[in-house]
């Protein structure tokens, strides 16, 4: 104990009690905060624990050091070393045993008064108490007292006092004759008993560390060093000792005592306490003055002495138990890595556990495993309603499960398969639907609106009346074949040459997208229809009554340039929350050809803005606008922009920024597969996404999904078809026994490596089609093998499979022949399977091959099988 700062001592026997000593001794009990809540006297130490003050003892002023009696009884017996060199036994317990009463109050007085620096109880012979004192030229500085020595020859006065009744403890019983006196003419600053031999005492003397043997006190082993403070033995390595001097810690090996085995990096400020962790090997905690961190040195991996020249590894760590400066700390004697810290001022205490370094790993299925100390923790994501957005890994897994991307006939359904919440995906899927429709213009369509409008020619301009009114508009509208194709792609007009948007408006009404429908009606110069839509919207159950107000405002439209209506609309429209309502007024109040308020309203769907542009922008303006918008979409990785770029190189660029942002290779793969006849599939980036997506499916064990993806890919991109994986050749003629092997390689079938296709009409299935010699026999039924697979349907089409029952399919599979790659024995798949249900070794006599266990991955079950 430093004297000026508080110190903590844990009870050696009560795991929940400790003493804080500064100017007096305070005994605390630590407990869970829940139970202590009722008691107002508890001090919170951490989020879970609180301390209760049990007793206070200020009997012993001028305390310099304290040591807790190591035996169970009497409890809470403490030796206190005082500034005058006296050592007093005192108690904080309520034990009333006779031994306790005898001991408490006993004083051990050195011949010459000087400060007592340190105290140490012998861990085995608990009657021995060593005290280290300051230097006195005529006296010894290490005194070993026997606390039971009342009957020993003492000074007569002291002896008399001892015999006084124990109630009179205050007058004290004084012992003046120590059992041993060692270390003459030198100061002793720290002491500890060696655990390997309880007769050995290690003392930090003035300029050396000395080991005294009580059996022969005249001799000592010593080493000259400055690091003599705070000597302490590692409880797990009895030959390892730590001591310090100012900011430096030295680690000693008593077997190689000549020099320290290690010195730890020097701290700028002097150390005040160094302590080995009692519950964990090789963890040393150090504290410097005026600091709020405890530095930990993890050296468990340096068994001493270092036999060879191996550099010891020390991991330096620091922990910050509390914000205030730390006065002292003490490890809990039994609780793992736990300590209590007391602040330098105010006696604020903190219960603190030093965590081990945690190592962690994510699994492929987004569960996190970490190891802390000797324990493992498995951590899984639990879905919480209304929680933050799910991670893309989870989303992709769910989408893969629901066969997202596989609905090639009704592409728009994929959006629903994806969970139906992402507007970008919705746009993408809806757009794909459009791609299918104009069949004859396929190549053009895939190139995106950007390329379509570029080649615009034969544009006609027309000025039309507002429908339902005979007022002429001064709004020029442009028409061309390309533009109407673009409008179709945007979904405004359906198939056919007519430019009627009515069908589209109806479908929007059905989806209750009133504002959007109204805006589109307005852009088609049908104010009356727009108002009608808004009124309808206001009347529905969940309709917004404000729509009526908007309709009213709309009906007041005037093309008078300086009217109040115009002025108010153009200023108030900015306060409208709905972007479609906003652009309606923007359109009505803008000059012809200057529609920035509509075109750059970023919360309006891209397709609507593009459609609008195609109607109202001139040939000069349109490509510029589209170009600009495309650039924006590419930078933002916004999938709506695919409408503009199509599945071209621009589209890949856009998809690249989408993948960069989201990591959604699933959507990227499916989307790019659509453009398969084109060059895009050959783009290395696209191939990379596809490979990554397949790899993800494999890691998730979605092997069926991966296989389905490969089938789809094989359909759309014939170059990706894998070659047949296995050929079985006839023993006799060496030709492939596959009947039509060369002509018809297996096509992406999950189990194709074990299947042999052929036509039974040519010869018996159990013979080689080349030389008609019989095929090998099944190891179990001893029949010649052969697989009639001609009527086995293709695996790709689910409709064809429907008529086959599960058993039927399995029966076919049972006929296939299979073999072990290791021992090359085999037979009918069904027979082999049933054999290995009960056996581990190969059915062929004298073959000990454990065929079924050879492949660990083969034993894994796909996680997506139904």
């Amino acid at each position: 104990m430093s004297g000026s700062k508080p110190d903590i001592l844990w009870s050696p026997h009560h795991p929940d009690r400790y003493v804080i000593c500064d100017s007096e001794l305070g005994l605390y009990r630590i407990g869970p905060i829940g139970s202590a809540e009722a008691k107002p006297g508890s001090l919170p130490l951490s989020e879970e624990t609180a301390a209760t003050l049990l007793a206070i003892n200020s009997d012993t002023p001028y305390m310099k050091c304290v040591a807790w009696y190591p035996k169970q009884e009497p409890e809470c017996l403490l030796a206190v070393g005082q500034a005058n060199g006296r050592v007093v036994l005192t108690s904080l317990g309520q034990s009333h045993t006779s031994t306790c009463k005898e001991l408490v109050g006993k004083e051990f007085v050195p011949k010459h008064a000087r400060q007592c620096n340190t105290l140490a109880w012998n861990p085995v012979d608990s009657n021995l108490l060593a005290a280290g004192l300051d230097k006195h030229r005529a006296d010894f500085s290490v005194l070993i007292w026997d606390i039971s020595s009342k009957l020993a020859a003492e000074s007569s006065a002291a002896a008399e006092k001892i015999r006084l009744p124990p109630t009179d403890v205050d007058s004290g019983s004084t012992v003046t004759k120590p059992l041993y006196e060692i270390g003459q003419n030198d100061a002793c600053l720290s002491l500890c008993w060696l655990l390997r031999d309880p007769k050995l005492l290690l003392a930090g003397m003035h300029r050396n560390l000395a080991i005294f043997d009580l059996r022969n006190t005249s001799q000592k082993t010593f080493v000259n060093t400055k690091a003599i403070q705070g000597v302490t033995v590692d409880p797990h390595f009895h030959d390892r000792v730590a001591s310090f001097f100012e900011g430096q810690v030295a680690i000693w090996d008593l077997r190689k005592f000549e020099k320290p085995v290690l010195t730890l990096t020097e701290q700028p400020k002097p150390l005040t306490k160094v302590a080995w962790c009692p519950t964990r090997t090789g963890l040393l905690a150090t504290l410097t003055r005026d600091s709020n961190i405890i530095r930990l040195y993890d050296m468990q991996h340096t068994p001493t002495p270092i036999g060879d020249e191996t550099e010891p590894t020390i991991i330096e760590r620091s922990v910050k138990p509390c914000e205030s400066q730390i006065g002292s700390f003490a490890w809990h004697p039994s609780s793992q890595n736990r300590m209590v810290v007391v602040s330098a001022a105010n006696r604020v205490m903190t219960d603190f556990t030093v965590f081990e370094r945690i190592s962690l790993a994510w699994s492929s299925t987004t569960s996190l495993m970490w190891a802390c100390g000797r324990h493992l923790y498995d951590c899984v994501e639990e879905a919480v309603e209304g929680a933050v957005e799910k991670d893309i890994a989870t989303k992709m897994r769910e989408r893969a499960q629901s066969r997202y991307g596989h609905d090639t006939l009704q592409v728009w359904r994929n959006h629903l398969l994806a969970g139906g919440s992402d507007p970008q995906l919705k746009s993408l899927c809806a757009e794909d639907l459009e791609l299918k429709l104009p069949g004859n213009k396929q190549s053009l369509v895939y190139s995106g609106i950007k390329n379509i409008v570029k080649s615009s020619s034969g544009t006609t301009e027309s000025r039309r009346c507002w429908i339902g009114s005979d007022r002429q508009t001064d709004v020029p509208r442009y028409h061309s074949e390309e533009r109407s194709l673009a409008l179709r792609l945007c979904g405004w007009v359906s198939r056919g040459s007519d430019i009627d948007v009515e069908t589209f408006l109806r479908s929007l009404e059905q989806e209750q997208e009133w504002e959007r429908a109204a805006a589109i009606a307005l852009f088609n110069l049908d104010i009356r229809r727009a108002i009608q839509i808004l009124n309808k919207g206001a009347m529905t159950d969940r309709g917004d009554l404000n729509l009526n107000v908007v309709a009213m405002a709309l009906s007041g439209y005037t093309d008078e340039k300086s009217s109040l209506w115009r002025e108010m609309c153009s200023s108030l429209r900015l306060q409208l929350k709905n972007p479609y309502l906003c652009i309606m007024f923007a359109f009505l109040t803008s000059e012809p050809g200057a529609y920035d308020g509509v075109l750059y309203e970023s919360s309006v769907a891209v397709r609507d803005r593009v459609a609008f542009a195609c109607m109202f922008l001139s040939d000069a303006q349109l490509p510029r606008y589209i170009e600009k918008l495309t650039g924006e979409m590419k930078d933002a990785g916004n999938l709506e922009g695919i409408l503009l770029t199509g599945l071209t190189k621009d589209g890949v660029d856009l998809m690249e920024s989408y993948v960069d942002i989201t990591g959604d290779v699933q959507t990227a793969s499916f989307c790019m597969l659509k453009g398969s006849p084109g060059e895009v599939l050959k783009d290395p980036r696209v191939q990379c996404w596809i490979e990554n997506y397949r790899n993800l499916l494999d890691a998730w064990r979605f092997w069926h999904k991966r296989a389905e993806f490969d089938i789809l890919r094989g359909k759309l991109d014939p170059s990706s078809k894998p070659l047949a994986q296995v050929f079985v050749s006839c023993n006799f003629c060496g030709k492939s026994i596959s009947y039509s092997g060369s002509a018809l390689p297996h096509q992406g079938r999950g189990f194709s490596q074990y299947g042999v296709s052929g036509s039974p009409t040519k010869s018996k299935v159990t013979s080689c089609p080349g030389c008609r010699k019989p095929l090998p026999r099944c190891a179990l039924c001893l029949m010649n093998m052969g697989t009639p697979v001609s009527n086995c349907p293709g695996t790709g089409k689910s409709e064809e499979k429907a008529d086959l029952t599960r058993e039927n399919k399995l029966a076919k599979f049972n006929n296939w022949f299979t073999w072990c790659h290791n021992c090359r024995h085999g037979g009918h798949a069904g027979h082999m399977l049933s054999w290995f249900r009960d056996h581990t070794e190969c059915p062929v006599s004298a073959c000990t091959c454990k065929c079924m266990q050879l492949d660990t991955t083969g034993n894994l079950v796909p996680s997506d099988s139904s």
Binding site: P6, R374, Y377
Partner: protein, 413 residues
Amino acid sequence: MFVARSIAADHKDLIHDVSYDFHGRRMATCSSDQSVKVWDKSESGDWHCTASWKTHSGSVWRVTWAHPEFGQVLASCSFDRTAAVWEEIVGESNDKQRGLSHWIKRTTLVDSRTSVTDVKFAPKHMGLMLTTCSADGVVRIYEAPDVMNLSQWSLQHEISCKLSCSCISWNPSSSRAHPSMFAVGSDDSNVAYGGKVQIYEYNENTRKYGKVETLMTVTDAVHDIAFAPNLGRSFHVLAIATKDVRIFKLAPMRKESSSTGPSKFEVQIVAQFDHHNSQVWRVSWNITSTLLASSGDDGCVRLWKANYMDNWKCTGILRGDGSPLSASSGQPISTMVGSSLLSQNALNGMSAGRYFFPPLDAPRAGSRFGHLLPPSSLIEHCDAEPVSQPQQQSLPHRHSSRALLSLAEAEEQ
């Protein structure tokens, strides 16, 4: 939301590393008890230890799985200066049924003269390659030319990094546009030695690995490093565990096809978090590199996630012992300042008796302990905190009655 549950690991000493296999159905742990354990996940989701064996004659720092394409293969590295490759074999009869598996050592790599601090398999498209790094600052790349024979490994490259290495990470990108690349971190704490993360890239022409980048801003000891799964992105992301969590983005600059020199990168720090408020020990990416987990000396595991704007945020904190962290904060609570102090004040006005908190002045004022007592400025400060007052005020009564009774009794005797 993440929920943790504990698994009885039964290691006899600290666990240093946890590693999942490709499918996430198997797991390996290694420990200071010199052993490696292999765990298999049952269909019900529970983990069962199916193998546990002594692997090294020192603490085992790291363990890692090879891609299942190469079989069931593990590599471990240890303080005993070696790395080892292990393969699961089909053991004696019925072992599988008893839920046990057998692992045999295929090779010991003894080239290092110091503790081998990390071991990683290269991405599978490079073949079966193993990398080690050691405390003497050397990265070694081994290759098994015959994937069927795991007992033969040839040392292909030996790269000296000049600084004690603590961790290594391969860039998992399989894109042909990216040459194979790894990053090494050093735990050398000397700031003056400069950047502690070096990035090496394979040069097709020289057939050697050459340094292409040193992250000069990372000058403190680096404890872990992890390339994010690339997943077809056009850039690489690297997470670094040093005194804080850092995420770097390495965007390869487009180079002319003719140039064959080393790639140039635009290095950009995307995020830097000191939430752990202490050393960070490990970082780990999820499979899509959209979630990052980190662990630090505050005893917490933190989860980080980026939004669409590439802003990284902490989305979860879990205590190392699996207990939920109270919502208040991630910081360790700083205990109430001055609680005992106030009780002293309150007591001064009461007949507290000699055994309780002594008065501020009187016999001891002149003693050497006088300066221990808190300065009055602090006391005032505490008085100025009305929120914590009532609780504190109520403290001494209870104390005094308890302590006084018991000790007063003792005195009468």
